[in-house]
Symmetry: C2
Subunit: 404 residues, 2 copies
């Protein structure tokens, strides 16, 4: 049985006109020879935000099953509505909820992980229907309760279903033409990327880009699912996410991205003894504060060290407070919000030298001071003044010839 | 295990303030000794109307499973929200959807009937929770799909759960003080009824009153469940619906009601032969048009008859049309919309003579012409001019001493 998995995001089904358009896309694909289509749909745009807001007005803790039951109604609504449209257009269809398949998840309500999916039920339904419209983002726990996969989780539903059905491809329809070398609103010359590797997109995603749910990419990477990110608004070819080996031309830098979600904390005058850094980061970990970039300096006389690190903006106050009331010794603590992280990403970095130097050089020429640096095999991130963000992005975009 | 079943309608949980009030009602009942409470909840007021409207704008046929999947989200939302409030108030609680229990129904989507309910699951959950908040109005079909029971179906969910749990009582919380002798907006002296029988309320319901879902009353009658209809807005004692044998004082007339949902059709000059009436009503039945009241006259010479009957207003045009294009012979057809049906209901009629005469006399005194009469053991209905409705209701209310 040849099945195509196509996921449609919230703006692609944002109103009746958009849903009619998606119905046409499906209809054309059937006429072009696609026998069986498994659609995965998000809630209509704005719906989940509204439901979440209504909920958190009452209860802060979203990691409980009542939250999941409420916010899963967005996808329950959209899947049934789209199926109604398809049936009206003589395309046999039915909606499918997470628990109906079922998509088994763990019990981490509000951010559940898929454990397994029964594909037999889906295959049997395809004997009767041309199209199945699955509510994305949701599953069922061993306690027989609805779970949700976290914001953006419908991508993960689509890839997980592709895996369960033994497929090799998954299409993600969205409101942009694909994945770009940088944010087109800031870097006007940003270009759509034709091919990108799983590793690159994971670095881009965790660094602030919002094209694909990171877990969907991890899953696709693990099972070798080729993801095709494309627009439901036009016929542009989109971006294909695949294995590094299959990407023929490897640019040094594939894309660049920025994140404003970091805050910097600096501790000065820490006694330079073994174990001090471990004590500090142990304390923050205990309070569930994620530390990202770290840099440590030692004073000239070698007795004191200073430590600079970044935490999510929303945790900054808490981090400073916990450090102040702890037994950890330091002279001064300083927090800074007016920073941003700019990163370049590319699997080509692995086999190219001088990539970092070129980055630092470019920023120096623009008079942009680098506060902290962190690197991985395929990424270099620098922390800079927030005011310099756009200028840094534009200059780097040009340096790495992403404009061409 | 002592369990109380309490159903809350849409206005009782219409906004956050009302839900907080209901939380207080539950909290007080627990303090007063109720160990386990099974709440059944409707959607918050206005929600189902909104969902239905959005759906029928797209698809006329509401008897299909996509409709059920969409409109059941209203109760999914309210049950989870109420459970959240209870948990915040330290009352251990969880929401329960129709498919989670499960409440098995037939496959009549949009108007499903409950087939059976598994009470084991509920009883097990009560080992862990003080309160379970069941989404009313919904179940699951043998095709693993969500079904809904038709508008007002949450009453039926509540009574069916009482039956499944082997209980003898069921409380229905609403926005009125109970069931009234007549519509208080028309008859200012209308009084709350303390006790009413299942039969009486069924007659009142089918005649236009909207207090309880008729199927919930049928089910309560079959299994002897005492229904207590009461307000969630104040502490008035409400109305108890029970078996005739248990109602000690039997007033001749318990209540009176009116319906504007009828249209009258008159056929004149029908050949007075055996089988003519059967042909006419057979034709209407074939087109699924419900005929309610019927009266037949024969002309003086005995050769022709005239036939008057009522059909639902929305079927009037169709009925007239089908009769006109049929082979049935008649001279004239006449349709009238400006009518209403006024009914008096009471189990006491069984053992009292002169009830009907008193009714006709009262209307005559008010110069109200009776167009058609129909009677059952515990009810007398008359068809009158729509303009005379309020005056008829007020006069009859006084005649049968319902004002006292």
């Amino acid at each position: 049985m040849s099945i195509k998995v196509m996921k449609f995001g919230g703006t692609s089904i944002g109103d009746i006109r958009r849903i009619e358009h998606v119905t046409k896309i499906i209809s054309k694909r059937i006429k072009a020879g696609d026998k069986k289509i498994l659609m995965v749909v998000s809630a209509m745009s704005g719906v989940t935000n509204k439901l979440v807001k209504e909920y958190v007005d009452i209860e802060n803790n979203i990691y409980n099953p009542e939250y999941d039951s409420i916010i899963s109604t967005g996808e329950q609504y959209s899947s049934a509505l789209i199926s109604t449209f398809l049936n009206k257009n003589m395309i046999t269809s039915r909606s499918l909820l997470g628990w109906q398949i079922p998509i088994h998840t763990d019990k981490s309500y509000g951010k559940a992980r898929i454990l397994n999916i029964n594909s037999t039920y889906i295959k049997n339904l395809f004997k009767k229907y041309k199209v199945l419209v699955v509510s994305g983002f949701q599953g069922i726990s061993e306690d027989n309760r609805i779970t949700t996969l976290g914001r953006g989780g419908s991508d993960t539903t689509a890839v997980a279903l592709s895996v369960a059905l033994g497929l090799k491809n998954c299409e993600i329809f969205t409101d942009v033409d694909g994945i770009f070398t940088s944010d087109p609103r800031i870097v006007l010359s940003a270009k759509k990327i034709d091919f990108i590797t799983y590793e690159e997109i994971l670095e881009l995603a965790s660094l602030g880009s919002k094209v694909l749910h990171p877990r969907s990419v991890e899953l696709a990477m693990k099972y070798g699912i080729k993801i095709h990110v494309r627009s439901s608004f036009n016929k542009t070819e989109g971006t294909i996410v695949l294995k590094e080996e299959k990407k023929l031309e490897k640019e040094v830098v594939t894309g660049l991205t920025s994140s404003e979600n970091e805050a910097k904390i600096t501790l000065k005058g820490i006694p330079d003894k073994p174990g001090v850094a471990a004590t500090i980061f142990g304390l923050l970990a205990k309070h569930k504060i994620n530390v990202d970039m770290i840099v440590q300096n030692i004073t000239d006389d070698g007795r004191y060290a200073s430590l600079t690190f970044t935490v999510p903006k929303e945790d900054q106050k808490k981090a400073v407070n916990e450090l102040k009331i702890s037994k950890i010794k330091f002279n001064k603590i300083h927090a800074d919000n007016n920073i941003c992280k700019v990163s370049i990403v590319g699997v080509g970095m692995r086999s190219n030298v001088g990539v970092a130097e070129k980055m630092f050089e470019t920023l120096a020429k623009k008079n942009i001071n680098i506060q902290v640096i962190s690197t991985s095999e395929i990424k270099i991130s620098v922390l800079i003044d927030l005011k310099k963000k756009n200028s840094a992005l534009r200059a780097l975009h040009s340096t790495y010839k992403l404009d061409d």
